[in-house]
């Protein structure tokens, strides 16, 4: 299909473009001009076109936990959120530590996925933290990074080897930084609130100890380290210093860490339970500062679906995690752009060109001629309230249900195909 998007404001941080014009799509790519008249002309007046958003941290749950999410429902949810590429973490059942698992995910995504799905492989076999997984074979099968998300590599020697070994593939090691001994049994941020609510706390230091360790190992090895879901002021400062030193370190945060604090846990609502936990205002401010000065490179969702049955429980017993695809863009717009933390260009860069660069995604995260036509069209003025019944993810564990937003994706184009519009929903 040949598509022309007319008179649209184009924001493409990969090329420093911010102008009004037309975008042409042919054979799934962005082209200078069409070879034939367009099959479809989209009126872009009043809207913004940006490179399709890339979410480098999500849990699609397939295979093994299809009651929470499937590749189909997860990518529908992503499409609705304006996300055209999702990275999926390997903590599925079985874990993605072998080529057939990678192939299965890619095959499923090909058949049922609405957006691009790029698997992340395990660092260690079975994510057991004992022996390196066959990272070379995984890479050949199609992974874009390695991570033992959720079950961080405790052994420094193994982490060192991982950072060393992955150098030959130019693969980033994504580290979920948590000292599990220090955070043991913790279910929320350690502080005044955990004391009052009577819940066991997870101190900031359980994250920061591992951020420090991994930065040091990065320095030792020269490997490529990407720190997942940064949640504390101390972590931001550690990464800032590492970057000053010129180390190969990047990091991400998630919308909830710049939007919410641990005050929200007060009603024991398990939709405010995630790992790392919601921290304090001081941390929220530091995260914003880190986003502003470039210390934090990416905004990712850590989309972690769980069923209602699992979440409607005692706070201690409920699993960690919240869904995030459908609120990523709106929260970024409302909490960062509207509040003047980031310019719209910088905010978009953290979900497009930055992840594309860090994870070496060729021809993505850009609207340059020749790029894959992954495009998100945004209406900054569209007002809506997030309603449970409108959520496309199979799970509804969002702390943002009932929240009012202004600005969201109105159309999502993946590889030159319109996969979702605000008016028509998912397009088959």
């Amino acid at each position: 299909m040949l598509i022309q998007i007319k008179d649209i404001k184009i924001i493409d941080p990969s090329a420093n473009i911010n102008k009004t014009g037309d975008i042409f799509i042919e054979d799934g790519k962005i082209v200078e001009k069409l070879s034939k008249p367009a099959d479809k002309v989209i009126d872009g007046k009043g809207k913004i076109a940006v490179p399709g958003l890339i979410d480098v941290h999500s849990h699609l749950r397939e295979p093994g936990q299809e009651e929470k999410e499937t590749i189909k429902t997860g990518t529908m949810s992503a499409a609705k959120g304006g996300i055209t590429t999702v990275f999926c973490m390997p903590n599925t059942k079985p874990v993605t530590d072998n080529a057939p698992s990678v192939e299965y995910i890619l095959m499923k995504a090909q058949k049922e996925g609405k957006v691009n799905v790029f698997p992340i492989g395990c660092i260690t076999k079975g994510s057991q933290g004992k022996e390196l997984a066959e990272i070379g074979i995984l890479k050949k099968a199609g992974i874009v990074a390695v991570s033992d998300d959720g079950v961080p590599v405790a052994n420094s020697q193994i982490m060192r080897r991982a950072l060393e070994y992955t150098k030959m593939f130019n693969l980033a090691v994504i580290s979920h930084c948590e000292d599990k001994e220090l955070s043991r049994n913790g279910v929320m941020n350690a502080g005044k609130n955990s004391m009052i609510f009577g819940l066991r706390g997870i101190p900031n230091q359980s994250e920061e100890i591992m951020v420090s360790r991994d930065i040091m190992l990065c320095e030792l090895t020269g490997g490529k380290l990407h720190i997942a879901h940064v949640s504390t002021a101390g972590s931001v400062e550690l990464v800032r210093q590492a970057k000053k030193k010129g180390l190969n370190v990047t990091c991400e945060t998630c919308p909830h860490y710049f939007t919410l604090t641990d005050d929200y846990v007060q009603n024991y609502d398990t939709n405010f339970k995630m790992n790392p936990p919601l921290r304090t205002l001081k941390d929220v401010d530091a995260i914003k500062e880190g986003l502003k000065d470039g210390t934090i490179d990416c905004i990712a969702t850590d989309h972690a679906p769980h069923t209602q049955e699992e979440k409607c429980r005692e706070f201690d017993s409920a699993p960690f995690g919240i869904i995030g695809f459908e609120t990523l863009l709106s929260l970024t717009l409302n909490e960062l752009v509207d509040k003047k933390v980031l310019s719209l260009e910088d905010a978009i860069a953290k979900m497009t060109v930055n992840p594309a660069r860090i994870f070496s995604l060729a021809n993505r995260g850009s609207l340059k001629v020749g790029s894959v036509a992954d495009i998100t069209i945004i209406d900054l003025n569209h007002k809506y309230e997030l309603k449970k019944e409108d959520i496309l993810s199979k799970s509804k564990n969002s702390p943002f249900i009932g929240r009012k937003f202004k600005g969201c994706a109105v159309m999502t184009i993946v590889g030159g195909k319109i996969v979702w519009t605000l008016k028509d929903g998912i397009i088959n």
């Binding site: 004391m195 009577g198 819940l199 066991r200 409607c312 429980r313 005692e314 706070f315 201690d316 017993s317």
Partner: protein, 311 residues
């Protein structure tokens, strides 16, 4: 009367007036105990359920006696006999009880926030009988009642809480209640058992019992759980006894008319010396009696608020 709540989940969010109302209504119930017929008809036809997910003979019995003295129908469910063992969720279990027309559900649970979870999901009134490390409001109330009875006023009283503050819901509820009434609250224990942010609740922190106990009006001794030693929170029971046992010698440093309290059950010879437990300063048995009166007051006030709500 200023009590209009559906549930009693904790003392943090109650104001001084509401707490005063409960204390005031407990008084006539206590007076009733000296009469030959210790029964009032306040809860006739109401069903009260004791849902205990953590063994506690004392608190459960106290609530049972309180409910019966108010003429309620009482059902007690302890963990072993409930469907918890069959894997039914807490909310489902409670909903079943509500379907059986329970008016008031009293819950004791090892996990914080479980009373809130029920309150959100049920129409029945919920009373928190202790949830994890969060709160134990009726214990806080009965301790306050006892102090009122003995000391007439709370304002300016020096009250010392001794022991495992970190894991103590009793300490938490006491702190909320006492600070609202203007008491000067001190806590003492090893730093590993005192939350770092506790001073933000307006209490004074001590690590040395001999210093902390000086000139206090009330010593409230918390039960020490033996398993805390396995978590490396202190090196041995022996050392704990050495540093934090309330002995006669230590008690001599407090005011001469000091009250010694303990929420029970006591570990005699560990957190409290037997001699202290049996001394005239100790009001531990009276706390038990007062517990029934205070719980009657809570049940009565919640039932009244329910009736008002229905009209």
């Amino acid at each position: 009367m200023s009590f209009n709540r559906k549930d009693l989940l904790g003392l943090e969010h109650l104001d001084r007036k509401e707490i005063q109302t409960i204390i005031d209504s407990a008084k006539p119930f206590k007076d009733m105990f000296t009469r030959s017929i210790k029964k009032a008809p306040a809860l006739v036809g109401k069903t009260v359920v004791n849902l205990f997910y953590e063994p506690s003979t004392r608190t459960r019995t106290s609530f049972e006696v309180a409910s019966k003295r108010l003429s309620a129908d009482v059902v007690s469910i302890a963990t072993a006999t409930s469907s918890v063992v069959k894997g039914e969720s807490l909310v489902d279990t409670a909903k079943t009880l509500e379907a059986m027309k329970a008016d008031i559900i009293i819950i004791r649970h090892t996990l914080a926030g479980t009373p809130e979870l029920l309150a959100k999901n049920l129409n029945a009134s919920i009373i928190n009988a202790g949830d994890g490390f969060h709160e134990h409001p009726t214990q806080g109330l009965l301790d306050l009642f006892t102090m009122f009875e003995k000391k007439k006023k709370i304002e300016g009283l020096k009250v010392l809480l001794v022991g495992d503050i970190l894991h103590s819901r009793v300490a938490k509820s006491n702190i909320w209640a006492l600070t609202k009434f203007g008491a000067k609250v001190r806590v003492v224990g090893p730093p590993t058992l005192i939350p770092g942010k506790i001073s933000e609740l307006g209490v004074e922190v001590f690590y040395n019992l001999d210093e902390a106990i000086k000139d206090v009006d009330v010593v409230n001794i918390l039960r020490i759980q033996m398993e805390r030693q396995q978590e490396n929170l202190f090196p041995s029971i022996h050392e704990y006894v050495e540093l934090y046992q309330v002995t006669k010698e230590r008690l001599a440093k407090a005011k001469p008319d000091v009250l010694v309290m303990h929420p029970g059950p006591m570990n005699r010879g560990i957190e409290i010396d037997s001699e202290v437990a049996d001394s005239p300063s100790a009001v531990i048995n009276e706390q038990v009696t007062n517990g029934i009166a205070v719980r009657m007051a809570v049940l009565h006030l919640l039932a009244l608020a329910r009736n008002k709500g229905k009209k």
